[in-house]
C-alpha cells in the first residue's frame, strides 16, 4: 500500500469554499498532477482521499491534514512539488509523509485542535482579556444548547471539559483568543461555542461576520 499524509494551509478567499468543494479540488489536482489515486471497489468507485477534520466554511488554517492512497509509489518531494504547482491562491502543501500500511485513519486519530479567534470590538473599549478568560474558566460549568442532527433534539451540554487550554490578549482593538479544544470522533467542540459563551459571559458585543477564526494545528493519537 502507498499511503501518504500531507499537511496544507487554507487561507485567502479559498476559505469561502466548503469542505466538499475542497475535496473536489484535490481530486482534480491529483488527476492533473498525474498522481494515480487508488479507487475504492464496488459499484461506484471513488478515490481514496480523506481529511483529518473538515474545516468550517470561512475559517482559515495553517495546518490541515489530508491522507490518500496511490496506485504507485511516489517520492514525497514529488507529491509536494506537483501538487503545489497546481494549487490556487490560498492553498499550499507544507509537507508530506509516507504512512505505514496498518495505521488508523486520520479522522479516527484526531483528538484536539488549536484555534485562534479574533474579535474586533468598538474602539475605545479596552478589555482585560486575561482576567476575563480566567473568570470564564472558573465557572463550574459552561453550558450550551447543541442541536443533534440525528435525533433532531436539542440537548444541553457542558463544554468546559472540552476546552483543554485557553489564553488571550488584547491589541489593535481586537480580542485575540488562543484555545485548544477537543476534536475528533469521540468528543468534539466547535470554537463557535467558545466564541458565543465567552462573549456572553464577558458582555462583549460583536458582529459574527467580523470575527475571524483560524485553526493552527490538529493533534493525533498515535
Amino acid at each position: 500500500m502507498n499511503k501518504y499524509v500531507v499537511r496544507f494551509y487554507k487561507g485567502g478567499n479559498i476559505r469561502y469554499i466548503s469542505h466538499l468543494d475542497l475535496m473536489r479540488l484535490f481530486k482534480r489536482a491529483f488527476k492533473r498532477a498525474g498522481i494515480k489515486l487508488q479507487y475504492s471497489l464496488g459499484f461506484n468507485p471513488h478515490p481514496k482521499i480523506s481529511f483529518a477534520q473538515p474545516l468550517s466554511l470561512g475559517y482559515t488554517s495553517s495546518s490541515e491534514y489530508m491522507e490518500f492512497e496511490t496506485q504507485l509509489a511516489y517520492s514525497t518531494d514529488l507529491i509536494i512539488e506537483n501538487l503545489n504547482s497546481l494549487m490556487p491562491e490560498g492553498l499550499g502543501i507544507l509537507s508530506c509523509e509516507k504512512l505505514p500500511d496498518n495505521v488508523k485513519s486520520l479522522a479516527a486519530r484526531t483528538k484536539a485542535a488549536d484555534y485562534e479567534i479574533t474579535i474586533p470590538v468598538n474602539s475605545g473599549i479596552e478589555k482585560d482579556v486575561c482576567n476575563l478568560l480566567r473568570e470564564y474558566m472558573s465557572q463550574d460549568q459552561i453550558k450550551v444548547i447543541k442541536h443533534q442532527k440525528k435525533s433532531r433534539k436539542s440537548i444541553e451540554i457542558d463544554i468546559k471539559p472540552l476546552i483543554y487550554s485557553i489564553s488571550g490578549d488584547f491589541h489593535n482593538n481586537s480580542i485575540l483568543i488562543k484555545t485548544k479544544l477537543a476534536a475528533g470522533n469521540v468528543s468534539n467542540l466547535s470554537p463557535e461555542f467558545v466564541l458565543s459563551t465567552f462573549c456572553e459571559f464577558a458582555d462583549i458585543q460583536y458582529e459574527r461576520a467580523m470575527v475571524t477564526i483560524k485553526r493552527n494545528d490538529i493533534y493525533f493519537t498515535n
Binding site: 478567499n13 469554499i17 482534480r28 491529483f30 488527476k31 492533473r32
Partner: protein
C-alpha cells in the same frame, strides 16, 4: 475601502460565498495598464448557472488571448448578496479584479432566455449604470448583448447600445479592435457605434426608428444613419475545426450545475423541426472532426482534472462519425478514470450498446422527446420520430432493464386538438403495457410525462401563430392530468402557464416593451425563470401602468405581410422558406432532413452548407 475589503465582511453572511470570490483555475490575470479594452462578460443569472455555459468559456478564452483586451466575468448576485450589496453600497463587480462594472469599457450580456431580461436591467442598476442608452454619457461603459435572444433584439433596443447577432468567435475580437482604435482617436461615443455598423452581425438600435400603425402593428423601420445596414446579417463561423476552442477552461471552485469538461461537436441542426428556434438560427450545420474533438477532450481533461466529460450539440446522434467518436471517447474516459455523459441519443442499437457500457450499474433513465402525441401533429411540427421508433426503442430498453422512462411533449402547438392530447395518454399507457408484457410486473416501473407549453419564437416557421391562452393551457393540462392519473406507474409534470406567457411576450416583442421591462424591474421583478422569484402580479401591474396590452404580442395571429420587429435581423434563412414551411405544416406535410437533399432555406446562398445532401 476597496471592494475586496468590503466584500470580506459580506461573504461571511451569504449563502455560497464561493460564487463571488473568483480566483478559479485557469482564470486570467492581466496588467491593466497595458489594456485598451476592458470587457465584461456578464451572465444574467447566478454563478453556478453561468459557469455551466460553454459560450462563456469560449469567449473568455478568445478575448483574453488578445493582448490589448482583458475579459472579466460578472454574474447576477443571489438575493441575499444583492440585499447586502445595496445596504453596504457595494457596486456590482467583476470576479477577476473586483472592479466596479462601471469601470469597464464594454459590458456584454449573453441573452440565453427571455426570462433573464430583468436580470440584465437589475445588474445595470446594481452597477450604478442607467437603464436607457440615451441616459448614458461617455463616463459609462458601452452595453452590449449577444446570444440566441439577440435574434429578436427589439425589447432591449432602448437599453443595449449594440447587439452582436450570430456566432461570437469572430465578431468579438473585431469589436474590441474597433474599440481600441476608437479610444485612440478620442472621438465621441456615437463614432464608435457608427464604425461598428461596418461589421457583419452588429445591430445598433439607435440608428433605426420604428413607427407603428394605430392598431399597434409595426409600420416601418427608418434608418437615421445612412451607412447602417438595411438588415443585419448574422455572423457565421464557417469552419469549426479552425475556430478557437478552449482547452484550459475555467474550473469553478464551487459546484456549478454542470461540473465537467465539454466539447462542442457540431453547431446547427439539419432536422428542421418547425417550432425550434435553435434549429433555424444556428444554420448551417458545421461539424468538428472526430480527431479534433478527441484532441480537445484529452487536453481539456488533462488541463482541468475534470472527472466527467460531455459532448454538446443539437441532435447529437447526427454527427457523421458519431459511433466511432463515442467509442473512442469512451476509451479516453476509461483510461483517465473519467465518466462520460452523453446528451440524449437517438435510440438505435448502437446507442443501447453505448448506454449499456457507460451506465452498466446505474441506469439513470431514458428520455424520449416525441414532442407531440400523434403522428399527424408530429408531421405538422416536422418531428420525424414515429410511433414505431418510440415503441421499438422502449421495448429494447425494458428488455435491458431500464425502469425509468421520461417523455417530453409540448402542448399548444399549431393545429393541436384534444385527439393529440389523447395520443400522449395512449403513448404513456402503451409503454406501461409493454413493460407488463415483457416483465410480467407493474410495479417498480415509471413513465414520467413532462409537458411544456409551446412558445412561438421569432425566425421559425411558427412565428406567425398565436400562443394558447393561459386558460386553454390550464384546460389541456388538467385534461391530461385526469387521464394520466388513471394509469398506474405514470407520473405527470407540467410547466406553469404564467412564465410561458411572459416568455411569449418577449420572444416576439417590439421596442415598446423596453419601458415595461424597466417598470417591472423598478417594481421588483427579477430572476423570472426562478419559480420562487417570479412575480406575475407585478408584471401585469407594469403592463397596465405603461398602457400596453401583452395579449397583442401573444394571442394575435400575424399575417405573412406584416412587418415583424425582428425582420431587421437576417438569420440567413429566408422568409419565403419560413412561409412555405408554415404552409406545409398546416397541411401536415413533412420536410426532409437537409442531409437528404437541400430544401432551400437560403443559408447556402451565404455560406457553404457542408452537410447538404450527404445522406
Amino acid at each position: 475601502m476597496t471592494i475586496s475589503k468590503q466584500l470580506d465582511k459580506l461573504l461571511m453572511q451569504v449563502e455560497k460565498p464561493g460564487r463571488y470570490i473568483g480566483g478559479e483555475l485557469h482564470t486570467v490575470k492581466k496588467d491593466l495598464s497595458a489594456i485598451s479594452t476592458r470587457f465584461g462578460f456578464a451572465f444574467p443569472d447566478t454563478y453556478e448557472i453561468g459557469m455551466s455555459y460553454l459560450g462563456l468559456q469560449i469567449i473568455y478564452h478568445i478575448l483574453n488571448s488578445m493582448e490589448s483586451v482583458y475579459c472579466e466575468r460578472i454574474f447576477a448576485p443571489a438575493e441575499d448578496m444583492e440585499n447586502l450589496m445595496k445596504k453596504e453600497s457595494l457596486p456590482l463587480f467583476t470576479l477577476e479584479t473586483k472592479s466596479p462594472v462601471k469601470d469597464l469599457d464594454i459590458l456584454g450580456f449573453t441573452l440565453q432566455y427571455e426570462l433573464s431580461f430583468t436580470n440584465v436591467l437589475n445588474m445595470l442598476n446594481l452597477g450604478g449604470i442607467p437603464y436607457r442608452s440615451a441616459e448614458r454619457d461617455s463616463s459609462f461603459p458601452f452595453i452590449a448583448a449577444g446570444g440566441p435572444c439577440a435574434f429578436n433584439p427589439e425589447p432591449l433596443a432602448d437599453i443595449i447600445d449594440f447587439f452582436m447577432i450570430g456566432d461570437g468567435e469572430d465578431v468579438l475580437p473585431q469589436v474590441c479592435k474597433t474599440h481600441a482604435q476608437w479610444k485612440e482617436s478620442a472621438k465621441d461615443k456615437d463614432e464608435f457605434l457608427k464604425s461598428l455598423t461596418k461589421i457583419d452581425g452588429i445591430y445598433v438600435p439607435k440608428f433605426y426608428n420604428p413607427s407603428y400603425y394605430e392598431d399597434g402593428r409595426l409600420k416601418e423601420i427608418k434608418k437615421n444613419f445612412e451607412q447602417a445596414p438595411d438588415r443585419i446579417k448574422k455572423q457565421i463561423v464557417e469552419n469549426l475545426n479552425q475556430a478557437e476552442f478552449p482547452e484550459k477552461t475555467i474550473v469553478p471552485l464551487i459546484e456549478p450545475i454542470h461540473d465537467r469538461a465539454v466539447v462542442e461537436i457540431f453547431r446547427g441542426c439539419t432536422r428542421g423541426c418547425r417550432f425550434c428556434q435553435a434549429g433555424m438560427i444556428y444554420r448551417p450545420v458545421r461539424e468538428r472532426s472526430k480527431e479534433k474533438i478527441k484532441q480537445i477532450a484529452e487536453k481539456q481533461l488533462k488541463e482541468t482534472g475534470h472527472e466527467e466529460l460531455s459532448i454538446l450539440s443539437l441532435s447529437t446522434s447526427d454527427h457523421s462519425e458519431i459511433e466511432s467518436l463515442v467509442k473512442e471517447l469512451m476509451s479516453v474516459c476509461k483510461d483517465n478514470n473519467v465518466s462520460l455523459s452523453l446528451p440524449s441519443l437517438r435510440l438505435d442499437s448502437f446507442s443501447f450498446e453505448v448506454l449499456q457500457e457507460i451506465q452498466s450499474y446505474k441506469k439513470t433513465g431514458l428520455t424520449f422527446a416525441p414532442e407531440a402525441g400523434t403522428q399527424r401533429l408530429r408531421d405538422v411540427i416536422n418531428k420525424t420520430i414515429t410511433d414505431d421508433d418510440i415503441y421499438s426503442g422502449i421495448e429494447k430498453a425494458i428488455e435491458l432493464g431500464w425502469t425509468n422512462i421520461k417523455l417530453y411533449f409540448m402542448i399548444g402547438l399549431p393545429t393541436e386538438t384534444f385527439e393529440d392530447l389523447d395520443g400522449i395518454v395512449e403513448i404513456a399507457k402503451n409503454i406501461t403495457d409493454t413493460n407488463y408484457r415483457i416483465t410480467g410486473k407493474r410495479g417498480r416501473f415509471n413513465v414520467t410525462v413532462s409537458v411544456s407549453n409551446f412558445v412561438p419564437k421569432a425566425h421559425t416557421p411558427f412565428q406567425w401563430h398565436p400562443q394558447d391562452t393561459p386558460d386553454t393551457f390550464l384546460e389541456k393540462q388538467l385534461y391530461l392530468k385526469n387521464k394520466l392519473k388513471k394509469i398506474k406507474g405514470v407520473s405527470y409534470s407540467y410547466h406553469e402557464t404564467e412564465p410561458s406567457y411572459l416568455e411569449a411576450i418577449f420572444a416576439r416583442g417590439d421596442r415598446r416593451l423596453g419601458e415595461v421591462l424597466i417598470k417591472a424591474v423598478t417594481l421588483g421583478c427579477k430572476f423570472d425563470s426562478w419559480r420562487e422569484h417570479f412575480k406575475y402580479d407585478l408584471w401585469m401591474q407594469a403592463f397596465q401602468e405603461m398602457g400596453i396590452n401583452p395579449n397583442f404580442y401573444v394571442h394575435r395571429e400575424r399575417s405573412y405581410d406584416e412587418l415583424l420587429p425582428w425582420d431587421i435581423i437576417d438569420s440567413g434563412v429566408t422568409k419565403e422558406f419560413l412561409i412555405s414551411e408554415n404552409n406545409k405544416a398546416i397541411k401536415g406535410v413533412q420536410s426532409p432532413d437537409c442531409r437528404l437533399y437541400c430544401i432551400g432555406c437560403g443559408i447556402n446562398k451565404r455560406v457553404n452548407c457542408a452537410m447538404e445532401g450527404t445522406l
